[in-house]
Symmetry: none
Subunit: 401 residues, 2 copies
Amino acid sequence: MKQIDLMKELHVPSDKKILMLVLDGLGGLPNKYGKTELEAARTPNMSKLCKDSICGLATPVATGITPGSGPGHLGLFGYDPLEYQIGRGVLEALGIGLSLTPKSLAARGNFCTLDPATGVITDRRAGRIATEKCAELVKKLKPITLEGANIVVEPVKDYRFALILEGDGLEEGLSETDPQKTGLKPLQVEPLHADAKKSAQLLNAWIEKAFAVLKDEKPANGCTLRGIAKDPGLPSYKQVYGLKACAIATYPMYKGLARLVGMDVLDAGETLASEVSTLKEFWAKYDFFFFHVKKTDSAGEDGNFDDKVKVIEETDALIPEIMALKPDVVLITGDHSTPSAMKSHSWHELPVLLHADNIRKDGTVEFGERACMAGGLGHIRHVDLMPLVMAHADKLTKYGA
Amino acid sequence: MKQIDLMKELHVPSDKKILMLVLDGLGGLPNKYGKTELEAARTPNMSKLCKDSICGLATPVATGITPGSGPGHLGLFGYDPLEYQIGRGVLEALGIGLSLTPKSLAARGNFCTLDPATGVITDRRAGRIATEKCAELVKKLKPITLEGANIVVEPVKDYRFALILEGDGLEEGLSETDPQKTGLKPLQVEPLHADAKKSAQLLNAWIEKAFAVLKDEKPANGCTLRGIAKDPGLPSYKQVYGLKACAIATYPMYKGLARLVGMDVLDAGETLASEVSTLKEFWAKYDFFFFHVKKTDSAGEDGNFDDKVKVIEETDALIPEIMALKPDVVLITGDHSTPSAMKSHSWHELPVLLHADNIRKDGTVEFGERACMAGGLGHIRHVDLMPLVMAHADKLTKYGA
């Protein structure tokens, strides 16, 4: 029996509340003093929590695999990321609050700069134009129509926009048009199987019209489409876990991921403080809270060890306020590692802290990568965390007689 | 998505070099002083390497399963040994440099001694005749022809030879003819399904002709066929990992295994010293080196604790010369355990040492079974080692957006 089906079958109601605190890109690597970002950070509140917790190290997707944000979060949410795959276009669309139907096909669009004479791409991100400029260009693209599909096009951030076609017979399985380097022309959308032909034709027709509209713009006189995909139709948190779940996040991608599994996405403002206010405000209304901290990952991607330490410390400082709400089960981890030494996501395991009733305290005294190596959870997979959290919240009944 | 497919999709080039040092049958059990062979061995160089490594214990096939050399190595190479199975006949043929096509069926042959009066086997290995005698007998078998198949027969070592039939409609799924004990007659080859009937008929016809040829020989007046199989058609290291890989081994079986996954098999002589010379000579030409040490296993099989210790020490002594080549990723482990206390392969986990950039040093100070129990890799499966090694060599890109 698959884990998702097991959860569907075994979940039972309880009045316990679960908080999943995700510090994006939490895992790190040692600096020259031999400490990771988390180990170097002063985290007295997490350390205090450790004393009544069980810790371990978690693998997001599979050993050696570096996850993108999508697979990283799907694993945390208990959906095997090697089984459920989400196109970037879908994430981008959901992240800005667009809704998808089973007839929708979503793409991530990037404005780019084309050489007017040869048509080759000279800047794949059109000089990273401002979001305002992006919105202005998208406004010009909105009037484009196609026979056989409704079109939604909306700005996302900087040079990025979301494109959704909705109509009958639109299937995924389509190549991207970004040639991945400058000096080459944008590619055509190619169907990867016969069922996707209609989608390819429509997308290519849209691109042709868009290029005509953008022709005289500077610097964004072209665009590319990537990650063209449909909503994978994941079973919802309500169906799988019986949970009334919400997401508290500041960044579109993570709101989109939460929507994919049917969480309510709360308006949580832009800061850690506003996220905590949102948590407090809605504490009575939900039994599962996905609380997302973005800037650990951003600092890691920037290679800024100290900034990552700072974000961890800022998050730690909020723990007393969060714990005052008396969550029954608290899970603290990340969706993947982003060691500042690597300036990128990585495959390294994530430290995990589980605080709840009925745990076997493992004596971990500090929340850090090496301390967690010896933790009582051992080496655990991300997909196994939700069943564990559900069990500690008295929300799973016995399997078999 | 399966791991092999994930590797095919995610691998990217890098100029880093990977060395996989396999001490065959490395894992052991404690002697009366409480130390395993590896723990008893003086291995200052491996201990030194430990300080900049992460260690753990690896399971070759599955918990409690004792692997043969084939499954043991397939796991190390990243091919799930429960999914990919290789007949002994195939290994034997490839190990002596014979090539197989999709139309080939390969068997391992054993010369044996039959009682001339009753036809029962009196010695399943014909007194372990010398390789020269084996070659002489095989020469007499070469003229045998069959309608419907070409035949290749070649000596391997001692009483063992390889037989290959090549023709249309030859399928595997065939019983062996060795009754596994003396006092019984050799069995007929039986087809295990209808598609294998033709193969069974041809093999039985060949056996009849071979027995006629061998009739008056002493002591090898008969033979048995085992492990009759086709090349499983494994995807190559180039396809799966994008690696230019070579094998440095002294024993046919391991050369054969390496060929199965498309590694170049280098002429590495007969000794550890000649293997290291070969490694140096070809260092510039490959990016993956499978370096095989056979005699740890042979000593274990012989129940010779001290000899196994000695081979481990000899291998340790070569580490500085190997590290002078500056490999970017070094993995040291074995294909399975061969505790000298058991005089056989066993199911026990293998100590693993991974030395590379971007590791989380785990503080292991000695390379040994008990030290590795507390290592940062925890308990890992053999098939997960290649993805990890690939990640540390910067040869895997991100999974998902």
